[in-house]
């Protein structure tokens, strides 16, 4: 099987700070999702990368929303591909950390 590698350019940082872009080379099998790639980064390269998801693959929890190449997507339903992919947190939600944003309805938050 040919070896596949996605180059993920990920916007990271905390609220108030200047965001930085970090690049990770992620080997993948055809069919892997972007969420698979982010999970692989955490397990093999950098466990501090903040992402949020619950259901892993079913697209049921709707938590893994982020911006891929300028488009809002679910990371679990986008496939990794060879070459450059640019990933950023949702632009219209308050940033929490890295790719995690405040997506809970206001009345379901601890600090309102």
């Amino acid at each position: 099987m040919t070896k596949h590698t996605a180059r993920l350019h990920i916007q990271r940082g905390a609220p108030g700070g200047a965001p930085r872009i970090e690049t990770f080379e992620v080997p993948f099998e055809p069919g892997n999702s972007v969420l698979d790639g982010l999970r692989r980064i955490r397990a093999t390269l950098d466990p501090t990368l903040a992402i949020r998801f619950s259901c892993i693959n079913a697209n049921a929890c709707k938590e893994c929303m982020m911006v891929l190449d300028g488009k809002v997507v679910y990371a679990c339903t986008e496939r990794l591909r060879d070459g450059d992919m640019h990933i950023a947190p949702l632009g219209n939600k308050a940033l929490v950390q890295d790719l995690v944003t405040e997506i809970a309805p206001r009345d379901e938050r601890l600090l309102r």
Binding site: A14, R42, R52, S54, N57, N59, C61, Q97, E108, L110
Partner: protein, 563 residues
């Protein structure tokens, strides 16, 4: 530190937790409903694909005692009959209540449609099309929940310990993931509704949030766990080709409606070799199917990815489309055309029969501490019947909510004690470990591989011992103080806290599995084949001063013969 106060604290906002919160509020209590993720989205409920078992008698005559008889039979002699009866007897009330709340159960010819699932003696399972039971149930419960002012819903809070004072539960403490701040939640009664432990396994059909949190909370609080060795594997979890945006247990509904053929690499139907012939109908129970697939793979007759083929190639396209409409398009997007190709399936960790030991009021042996839903052990014995999981979420949730509300009302105050909460709060807000942390995400994956390879559905003493040894090593590698800082959404600290629970809970599964020297239901010992009458007993785990203890308790006799 953020401090909150309520009458009833519900931990976990899936089907059981939401139902419990609604019931407690209905009885006049102020409720806090807490989830580590989003409310009503992060558990197993939202992922349910189809069946909900209930003796409604809409499709054909039925009675809850028939449902009970099937539940007890599936449980292989180990069910707690009182809990199993509660489940079956109250099921019609809850399912009708959900119907009145407009969940949208499938209907046909003016009645609710019920399908015949394996292990049931008749058509008994309601559902929502297409593959939509979980999302529909979650949406319906959230709608009801949002109408109740007495319930405060709070997401992104990870509960890390129950606070116990003078032997009684008085609340809980945890971490607000978004801010990194600690939280103290004072309550007159507490309900654990955190689901099961599927996350302990590499391939699982649950969510990231189900690493057995509630079991660890219960253990550390002084409560007992029961039947921990019984992990249900769903036999036909999707294996290949890689699909995205689909739940791995989605083939179950296909089998309910269309039968389908389970084939080995030679294209042969093989279930008959293991005692249950299929003949185009979906009758294989989960334990037998799991066994059959594993054995075919072992004999070198597995599919390329290491499972079995599931084929619908004999089903006309029009029929596929009639049964599953939009799902056929989602499959096409994944490059799957069922008229032309089979898919590959293999057993996948799906549900846990064991859990927190409770009495018929859903209360643990720690006063004021209750449990509900999959977190409860005992109702399903050694093997759960298809369709009983959502039913128990509703029934046990409602029951626990009612009981916890009664308890809260009988208590003047929570009896909160700052000293009892201090140790865990200091632990959470402290600087943590100064040592270089292991890669916590890698450690989670290693744990999942260890459990899948050595503590799966087929077990041997040697493999179980190996797992136990490695679990102890991993615990040492993890260290006694949390890794990561207290920053916003600190994933390393979150993993560390999860691993603390997952390693403890994994040990309870392995210990109980080593001890049970026979094969029963979901626990199959290759070195001890066959079910033995002397093992008609439940194993109970407890935790004291950092040590797990295991005891035996004779299975409760079935008090009344089912109809």
């Amino acid at each position: 530190m953020i401090r909150l106060e309520s009458d009833v604290l519900v931990i976990g906002a899936g089907g059981a937790g939401i139902y419990a919160a609604i019931a407690a509020a209905r009885d006049g209590c102020q409720v806090h409903l807490i989830d580590r993720s989003l409310i009503g989205r992060g558990g197993a409920t939202v992922m349910a694909q189809m069946t909900v078992a209930v003796a409604l008698g809409e499709q054909c005559p039925d009675h809850w005692e028939y449902h009970l008889a099937d539940t007890l039979k599936a449980g292989r002699g180990l069910c707690d009959p009182a809990l199993a009866q509660l489940l079956c007897e109250n099921a019609p009330l809850r399912i009708r209540e959900m119907d009145a709340w407009k969940v949208g159960w499938a209907r046909e010819n003016g009645h609710l449609k019920q399908v015949h699932a394996p292990g049931h003696d008749r058509a008994r399972c309601v559902y929502v099309d297409f593959l939509n039971t979980g999302p529909a149930v979650s949406r319906t419960l959230r709608t009801q929940l949002n109408r109740v002012n007495a319930i405060r819903r709070i997401g992104d809070v990870l509960i890390t310990d129950i606070v116990v004072h003078d032997g009684e539960a008085v609340g809980a403490v945890g971490l607000h993931l978004v801010s990194g701040k600690t939280v103290a939640l004072e309550a007159k009664s507490v309900i654990i509704a955190t689901g099961g432990l599927t996350r302990l396994y590499r391939r699982n059909s649950g969510s990231q949030n189900m690493g057995g949190d509630g079991y660890a909370l219960a253990l550390r609080a002084g409560a007992e766990l029961i039947d921990m060795e019984f992990v249900q594997f769903f036999p036909i979890g999707h294996l290949a080709p890689r699909m995205i945006g689909m739940d791995p247990i989605m083939w179950d509904p296909f089998r309910y409606k269309l039968g389908g053929r389970l084939l080995n690499a030679k294209g042969e139907e093989f279930a008959e070799r293991y005692g249950q012939a299929e003949s185009g109908q979906y009758v294989l129970t989960r334990d037998v199917a799991t066994y059959a697939i594993f054995k075919e793979v072992e004999a070198g007759r597995g599919s390329p990815a290491g499972g079995a083929y599931l084929s619908f190639a004999h089903v006309p396209e029009a029929e596929l489309r009639k049964a599953f409409g939009p799902v056929i398009d989602r499959l096409a997007k994944n490059g799957i055309d069922l008229t032309k190709m089979p898919v590959e399936v293999a057993p996948i960790a799906h549900y846990h029969m064991g859990g927190v030991r409770v009495n018929a009021s859903m209360e643990t042996r720690v006063p004021n501490l209750f449990a509900a839903g999959e977190a409860v052990g005992g109702a399903n014995g050694a093997n759960r019947l298809s369709g009983n999981a959502l039913t128990e979420a509703f029934v046990f949730g409602e029951h626990a909510g009612t009981a916890a509300a009664a308890r809260a009302k009988s208590r003047g105050a929570s009896g909160w004690n700052a000293k009892a909460a201090a140790a865990e709060l200091d632990f959470l807000s402290g600087p943590g470990s100064a040592a270089a942390a292991p890669n916590t995400a890698a450690l989670v994956m290693e744990l999942q591989a260890l459990m899948a390879d050595n503590v799966g559905p087929f077990r041997t003493e040697a493999k179980l011992r190996l797992a136990l040894l490695r679990l102890a090593q991993m615990q040492r590698e993890l260290g006694a103080l949390p890794a990561g800082g207290s920053a916003h959404y600190n994933m390393v600290r979150l993993d560390w806290l999860d691993l603390r629970n997952m390693l403890l809970v994994a040990q309870t599964v392995v210990l109980a599995a080593i001890e049970r020297k026979e094969s029963r239901g979901a626990h199959q010992r290759e070195d001890y084949p066959g079910m033995l009458p002397e093992w008609e007993l439940n194993q109970v785990l407890s935790y004291r001063e950092g040590k797990l203890g295991l005891s035996r308790s004779p299975a409760k006799p079935i008090a009344r013969a089912a109809k």
